[in-house]
């Protein structure tokens, strides 16, 4: 099954980013394809490579990068939402892309599911 994920909150402040990741991991393990994780609203903060959590904590930006590099999951941040919150190509995580809501619409159309995580 082909699945898209829409993530509407930033990392650490809300559990949404964690649940979205754990869901994606479990779906891939069961043989499904995660087409894309699309960051919207404060979700775009997930896309910064400057994230630097304590060593003994999970690294949320690295999770997205790994999903992208190892499993071909597109990691996308909405450009309008990103600009409001100071996310641009200078700080974008490797393998991530800043894109438009048209791309989200394509994701909604071409996948069997689009699942929202937020707060």
């Amino acid at each position: 099954m082909n699945i898209g994920i829409l993530l509407k909150e930033g990392p650490y402040n809300h559990q949404a980013a964690d649940t979205a990741y754990k869901f994606a991991e479990a779906a891939i393990k069961k043989g499904h394809t995660i087409d894309a994780v699309f960051f919207y609203n404060d979700g775009v903060i997930n896309a910064t490579k400057l994230m630097d959590p304590p060593q003994d904590d999970r690294h949320i930006a690295d999770r997205w990068k790994n999903l992208c590099q190892k499993h071909g999951v597109q990691i996308l941040a909405c450009v309008a939402a990103a600009k409001r919150r100071g996310i641009n190509d200078d700080v974008l995580i490797d393998c991530g892309t800043i894109t438009g809501l048209g791309n989200l619409t394509d994701i909604a159309i071409r996948n069997d599911r689009l699942i929202t995580f937020g707060d």
Binding site: A16, K22, A26, K29, K30, G118
Partner: protein, 97 residues
């Protein structure tokens, strides 16, 4: 359609509101702070029992454990992230935020 609820029913009205919209047979899945709704013998237990008459009800086990909830309302099923994926295989998803 799978309905997910992620807010504490004590703090937010998403549980109360969403339950007006459930269709018979729709599975309901409590995740994140939403799982406080299924703690046994709290003030939402009666509302939950009404829902259980027409809908299968699940709660995400990892979220229950994180919050120290060991006793849950009878009829509610604790599932893992794999179980969440299985529900998604069978249903479109309505994530109440």
């Amino acid at each position: 359609m799978l309905n997910t609820i992620n807010k504490s029913p004590f703090a937010n009205n998403s549980f109360e509101t969403s339950s007006r919209f459930f269709q018979p047979g729709d599975p309901i899945l409590f995740i994140e702070d939403g799982v406080y709704a299924v703690q046994a013998n709290n003030k939402f237990s009666n509302a939950l029992r009404d829902i259980l008459k027409n809908n299968p009800v699940y709660a995400l086990g990892p979220d229950l454990n994180a919050r120290g909830i060991s006793e849950i309302t009878a009829g509610v099923k604790s599932i893992g992230y794999e179980g969440f994926v299985e529900l998604v295989e069978d249903h479109q998803v309505n994530s109440w935020l």
